[in-house]
Amino acid sequence: MKKIRFASIYFLFAVIGAVILFPVLIAVILPIQDSDELERTFAPLAETGSRYVSIDYIPQYPTLKNFSKLLLYTPEFYKVFWNSILVVGSILLFQLLVAVPSAWAFAKFRFKGKELLFNLYVIFMLMPFQIMMLSQYIVLDGMHLMNTRLSIILPAIFSTFPVFLIYRGFADIPDDVEDSARIDGANELQVLLRIGIPLGKSGILSCLVLSFLDLWNMVEQPLAFIKDKKLFPLSLYLPMLDIKNADIMLTAAIVTLIPAVFVFIIGQDFLEQGIIATALKE
């Protein structure tokens, strides 16, 4: 009886897993279809009829031509790819420079209004971009930063979410460890660098992984603040491709996925630790 129950649970999860994986499977299968086959597959989308798209799960003429077309003959893909890398890399770097000292201060210092300020941080973290968009737009326009990469980078640097995430890692560090460092003559910066960062590494890295995944896929900010195609990130490039360029779109989606997958694999442990720490302690 117990075995049957386990089996049925496994089966249920297998079905749920398959359903979740289905779009990924399609994303992998479609780019290896020949462009003619893809055209036939997506024909119903271009027509105004009642037909639905039907996919051959085993391509009739599997080919890597779409990859060569994207990687050899589509230079704009590289342009947007490096735009994304530049924007995300800059945001992550400066985010850490801002968020780590902030989180350290919230975790380890006592000052007037700390609770209120931290609560404000949490409230700002909960606010979706759509609410902040107009005010950000007015500020950026006033600073003449519209249609520049800084219009995406600057607001993201001062995001409150990393502070919250790193804060939990720092809060776990016992005060005695810092005090012993201070007794040994370390100043506050040395305490942060030698004690805080190494011990709160999991929080920082989980913040990096989560922020990377979030920023790699951000659409609203560049859509709202950037008009020049030269500055578009990958997340805006893919939606711009129409059904005529389905081969490029599907292949680009796969290549876009690769950095996110790598970052996830590399930071998976830290991500888990960070999330667990955040969930348990607050």
Binding site: L72, P75, E76, Y78, K79, D228, K229, P259, F262, I265
Partner: protein
């Protein structure tokens, strides 16, 4: 284990980024290589300029042709085309012997006529054309049925064969002369006399052969009329018989009075030692006959009277007549453009004899220029309407009325400024050598159009803009 996997993942991620970096350059290079490189020009709204350019020659307003009776051999030309001559200057010298022979012949004919002749010379009868015997024929340019003029070249003898004959005769003559001297020394007068007669005959023959050789072996018709028989063929050896028969014209060649008039003229020429003199001061033109030729019914020379002014004569096409008309002012350049005369007025435009072209006459007054100089008429005419003007090379598949062009649309793309082609049909209204005038394109003032490309172009294609003309 997990740590190793992570390290590997990190390594592959770095490799992935490096590959993407390298591929960025490779894809750009391929993209650049595949893009057609085009040169562009801007559309301009303006009147279309037409240029009329044609060559012509300067001629005198008044010309005096110089006529000489037909069939007399020319001994020498004293002038050439373009030479300035005064009244009485010798233009051409006639062969005195030939002239005196012609006079004698004509006197005989007249006396025959006076003694009951018909007054008609060879009317409708067949007249033989003889060539010297024992010579090889190399060319017969006429055939039965051809009309020939008196003095027209009808046959050519092999010059090398003729030369050999002349040499042989010369050698024979030399040998005979030595024999003659031998007979004289021996006192054999009978043989010497016989040899002298033989030498005389051979000398006459030698002189005839020599004259023929000097003339290039050309045989001329002594009559005007139609060739009725060609009695020999190329390669034949001539005999004493006639080689060609020419029927006389149906009308009498010369009436009695005409013969008298011709005789009068010939006598005057003989008095002037066969010199044909210029009737006026002027410039010689149209001297076409050469030494050895026989005079024809045509003028032997024309003397242009430059005192009355010069006229530039040029031929233009029918299309050009739509652009210029009588009364228009044009420029005429001479001496490779070194001499330019502006504001010359066109006085006449007349269809020429062929009916295909038109003769334009423009009076030119300049002391430096002379008759016969070649010049170029140039003038620019602007179209009445303004058009969008396109370079000829910009219009593809151009017919008389339409064609298509590629307009370059500029946009900001992922890689910076991108240029995309848009095909557009144009209606051709007018054209000149370099431009088409087309209906308004309804495009922005700074729109660019493709005038040349490194590759075949298509609508919607992206291109690389190389230069703008």
């Amino acid at each position: 284990m997990k740590e190793k996997f992570k390290q590997k993942a990190l390594k592959y991620f770095v490799i992935f980024l490096l590959v993407m970096f390298v591929m960025t350059f490779i894809s750009r290079m391929i993209y650049t290589n595949n893009l057609p490189r085009v040169t562009a020009a801007r559309v301009s709204s303006q009147s279309l300029s037409h240029q009329v350019e044609c060559s012509g020659t300067l001629e005198a307003r008044k010309k005096t042709p110089v006529f000489v009776p037909e069939g007399i051999k020319i001994a020498d030309k004293a002038v050439k085309n373009g030479d300035k001559v005064a009244k009485g200057d010798t233009l051409i010298r006639l062969d005195k012997n030939d002239l005196s022979e012609q006079i004698k012949k004509l006197e005989n004919e007249i006396s025959t006529d006076i003694n009951g002749g018909s007054g008609v010379y060879n009317a409708g009868s067949k007249n033989p054309v003889f060539a010297l015997s024992e010579l090889r024929i190399s060319e017969i340019p006429v055939k039965v049925g051809d009309h020939v003029e008196c003095g027209q070249y009808v046959m050519k003898l092999d010059p090398s064969y003729l030369y050999d004959k002349v040499c042989d005769l010369y050698n024979e003559l030399e040998s005979d002369r030595q024999s003659y001297n031998g007979y004289i020394e021996e006192g054999n007068n009978t043989s010497a006399d016989a040899m002298a007669n033989s030498i005389e005959v051979k000398e006459r023959k030698y002189n005839k052969y020599n004259a023929l050789s000097a003339n290039g072996g050309m045989i001329y018709s002594d009559f005007s009329g139609t060739v009725t028989d060609v009695l020999v063929k190329t390669g034949d050896i001539t005999t004493d018989s006639a080689v060609i028969m020419v029927s006389g014209d149906a009308k009498p060649n010369y009436t009695f009075s005409e013969k008298e008039s011709k005789l009068e003229k010939l006598r005057k020429l003989a008095e002037a030692d066969g010199n044909i003199q210029s009737p006026i001061d002027g410039v010689v033109s149209d001297v076409t006959l050469n030494t050895g030729n026989l005079t024809t019914a045509e003028a032997v020379a024309t003397v242009a009277d430059v005192s009355g002014g010069l006229i530039f004569n040029a031929e233009i096409t029918e299309d050009d007549t739509k652009l210029i008309s009588v009364g228009d002012s044009v420029s005429v350049r001479f001496r490779n453009g070194k001499k330019r005369i502006d504001k010359c007025e066109i006085t006449s435009i007349v269809k020429n004899e062929s009916g295909e072209k038109y003769n334009v006459q423009i009076p030119v007054s300049d002391d430096e220029l002379t008759v016969g100089e070649i010049g170029t008429l140039t003038t620019k005419v602007l179209s009445g309407e303004k058009y969008d003007c396109l370079p000829i090379e910009a219009v593809n598949n151009a017919s008389e009325t339409s064609g298509f062009i590629y307009i370059i649309d500029e946009s900001e793309g992922f890689l910076g400024k991108e240029y995309e082609l848009r095909k557009k049909k144009v209606n051709i209204k007018e054209k000149n050598d370099t431009m088409y005038g087309v209906d308004a394109l309804a495009e922005a003032d700074d729109s660019k159009i493709v005038i040349s490309s490194s590759k075949k172009l298509n609508d919607g294609q992206k291109v690389r803009l190389a230069a703008e003309k």
